[in-house]
Amino acid sequence: MEAYSSLMQEILDGKFVFTGELEPEKTTDLTELVEGAKPLVGYAVACNVTDNPQSMAYMSSLVASYVVQRDAGMETIYQLRCSDRNRLALTADVLGAAALGLKNILALTGDHVSLGDNPGAKSVYDLDSALLTYMIRRMVDEGVDLAGKPIHEPPKIHVGVAVNPNADPLEAEIIKLKRKEEAGAEFAQTQVIYDMEKVDGLFEIYNQYGIKVPVLIGIFPMKNYGVADYFDKNIPGVSVPGELLETLKKVSEIADKKQRKEKYMEVNLEYFEAFVRDIMKSEAKGVHVMAVGYEAMVRELIARVRGEG
């Protein structure tokens, strides 16, 4: 198998990989995004660039992925949702992404548009994440679009998918990963989890179904108590462990800003360093750190678990 991206090369080389996450917002200014990516160069092998997360109408993920790659020198994982585009638009965007030098796509079904900031929008879902994966692999491997029409200079791009170890019933979710693997998924990133029980639960069923696709476990160091509390209350099916949430709450009561910031860092590092070290002993091939806007933490965490910190 040929690797077109650094992400895929590292996975194929058997390295334990780290990916980060960047979120373009409702703006035309990408400075913050580019500056946020720069400190992670050399730490994360690539960063996801979200596509209308929670169905918010934000800056194009395709454009942001390209600008981050060009201006920050950070390889990107271009997130692409089926909620907002039919197969023609998706084909066009995949071809465009490849022309701009993007090397990884994360194929997502996408949150329902009625949950976002333009809830009256018409949702598309011509394809789902499995079918988008299938479409991309046909474009790359066979040089044809979904209708079998030949592509002049086919794209060279990898496709990953998402999987949620918090899902209940979990078997249905893992079977869906099996389908995505059949469709051609080359890597998978998980929804945020906080403990090894979830990691082990995922791999137990994963092995039952003979799945081989490399999995990167999603973690979420939390910049402050407000972020943690919001996440705990508003992200369905995911909860921050009570003890960790309590500790972060105590930190939020520290009056001195500098001390508070340092303590947040310390608490996160203590929890997530141990967790990542445990993940490294599992069947996971890497960790996806979804700490948007908390680059210092991501960098320090990766350095520490690599023995550089």
Binding site: T109, D128, A130, L146, D168, P169, A172
Partner: protein
């Protein structure tokens, strides 16, 4: 059957503000069976419109000719023609209480008449008499896969109409759309297929649909045989 819901009276009054000679036309088909647009409801609506036109529109009894009638099925051209030919001339508008198909059937049979909708057409319904509820279970997509999905339609019951679910938006079998109250269709399908020992069907990657099958407007030319007046 087709589920319809009466429009707010204010909206109807606004719609018919220029029509004082009006036939309120019920339908004994789906609309009547669900007691939204049958004979009684047509009579009731005609009375309400008269009162509305008098109180809010300043009309007098003598200005108005608002009457109610009902036909067996408004979605059948022959039935509509036979029922209304000869009697429809006296009205300048027909206010139909049938589904959108009924409204348009009357309009096609009597192209010189203004035909207006008194109801909103909602969906193809399944009735739960005990709860008094109506549920959408089929969206007439034209390519039924119920044999593969445990008799549960993902095109209709999955808010995203996914062929390969469940998506990441289900929590404990409930759907992100509608505040986690509705069942996730794909978890229902998973449970049903597992119960039937057919998990291999759940494992199947379903390839893309040819959406031309459900491209509107659709026709079944010569495909429906007239069986004679709904006997």
């Amino acid at each position: 059957m087709i589920v319809v819901e009466q429009k707010p009276l204010e909206d109807i009054l606004d719609m018919v503000k220029d029509s004082d000679r009006m036939l309120v036309l019920g339908c004994d088909g789906c609309s009547g069976i669900y007691q939204v647009g049958g004979e009684k409801q047509a009579e009731m609506l005609s009375s309400m419109l008269k009162i509305g036109k008098k109180t809010k529109g300043g009309k007098k009894e003598g200005d108005l000719k608002i009457e109610a009638s009902t036909v067996l099925r408004q979605c059948d051209k022959e039935i509509v023609r036979e029922a209304l030919e000869g009697s429809i001339e006296g009205y300048d508008a027909v206010l139909s209480m049938a589904c959108g198909a009924g409204v348009q059937t009357v309009a096609e049979v009597f192209p010189e008449k203004l035909v207006l909708p008194a109801v909103n057409t909602k969906f193809i319904g399944m009735q739960d008499r005990e709860m008094g509820d109506l549920h959408e279970r089929c969206s007439a997509c034209g390519d039924c896969i119920l044999d593969e999905t445990g008799g549960i339609c993902p095109i209709t019951r999955c808010a995203k109409g996914l062929l390969n679910g469940p998506c990441g938006g289900q929590v404990e079998g409930k759907c992100e759309v509608g505040g986690y109250e509705n069942d996730c269709a794909w978890i229902l399908i998973y449970k049903k297929l597992k119960e039937f020992g057919k998990i291999d069907q759940f494992l199947k990657l379903r390839l893309v649909r040819d959406n031309r099958i459900s491209q509107s407007p659709r026709d079944l030319k010569g495909g429906v045989k007239y069986s004679g007046g709904g006997e």
